[in-house]
């Protein structure tokens, strides 16, 4: 199993994400944003949290135009797996790989705390290790995590069971309490909370470990 973690100028959760993958047996390549191709044999691409390009213009907007993102688009276009966490979720929406957009938090403040999430679907490689409706505690750390999509897009997400996680107590104004969503082929997941920050007993919580364990289990035979 091979994971590639993209590194932009301003990424700051790239190593956390790499460690979370490695714990479950992935070989991890760190891939700089100027690369035009992913390493051969990559099963999943991780787009990490941080402040790529200083969040200039819009969060994730400049990163979405970087050379490596063209390779990520090609990878997901071929049906490859990808995970975007926090700024990575913002990047994936800016590339159009995932629908919607992340707006400034409704309360205007940067929020850094552990929040409750409800697992809305177990029908994905990312969420198969949880029970449907299970509540888990995962940290958030963002200023622009207020998920927005128009009504038609929300209908599609709901109808196709593509909402992966919702907040039990909405911290940022996200429409429908949405914390994470899946692509139409269920192989790309974007979420604002940080499962990689709750994957080791040293983190103070391990509710994110099942997330990476499920990925490792599913991709192992590939």
């Amino acid at each position: 199993m091979r994971a590639a973690v993209v590194v932009f100028p301003g990424s700051n959760c790239d190593r956390d994400l790499a460690v979370a993958f490695q714990r479950e047996g992935f070989a991890v390549d760190m891939v700089w944003h100027k690369e035009t191709a992913l390493p051969d044999g990559v099963d999943i691409v991780g787009v990490p949290g941080g402040f790529s390009y200083g969040d200039y213009l819009r969060c994730g907007a400049i990163a979405a135009q970087s050379p490596i993102c063209q390779a990520v688009l090609a990878h997901t276009g071929r049906g490859g797996y990808a995970l975007g966490v926090c700024n990575g979720f913002q990047v994936l929406t800016e590339t159009g790989i995932l629908p919607g957009a992340l707006l400034r938090n409704a309360g205007l403040k940067y929020i850094c705390k552990t929040v409750g999430l409800r697992v809305e679907t177990t029908d994905s490689a990312f969420t198969g290790g949880y029970a449907k409706g299970q509540e888990i505690a995962i940290p958030i750390a963002h200023h622009d995590g207020n998920y927005f999509a128009d009504e038609a897009t929300l209908e599609t997400l709901r109808g196709d069971d593509r909402i992966a996680f919702t907040y039990t107590d909405n911290p940022n104004g996200s429409v429908g309490d949405i914390a994470g969503i899946l692509s139409d082929n269920r192989r790309v997941l974007g979420m604002m909370p940080h499962p990689e920050r709750a994957a080791d007993p040293g983190h103070g919580g391990t509710d994110g470990a099942a997330f990476f364990r499920a990925l490792g289990g599913l991709l192992a035979p590939a």
Partner: protein, 76 residues
């Protein structure tokens, strides 16, 4: 040539920063401010011969996120 691009959140997209400005104006004693929407102005210095279609493409691909934002172009 120059172009000025105005980027605004679309109608129906909540603008919490605009709301905060509206509240602040009210708190300062300015009455009757019923709404504030905050946007961006982007000035482009362009080589002669750049077409409006090219500026539209810049807006669509980068300067605005048309999921949440609308834009207007002023060519000068």
């Amino acid at each position: 040539m120059k172009a000025r691009v105005h980027v605004m959140l679309k109608k129906g997209v909540l603008d919490p920063q605009g709301e905060a400005v509206r509240h602040a104006l009210g708190a300062m004693g300015f009455e009757g401010v019923e709404g504030v929407r905050q946007g961006k102005v982007i000035d482009l210095d362009l080589a002669e011969g750049t077409t409006e279609a090219q500026v539209v493409e810049m807006c669509e691909k980068l300067l605005a996120n048309t999921v949440i934002e609308s834009y207007e172009i002023e060519l000068g």
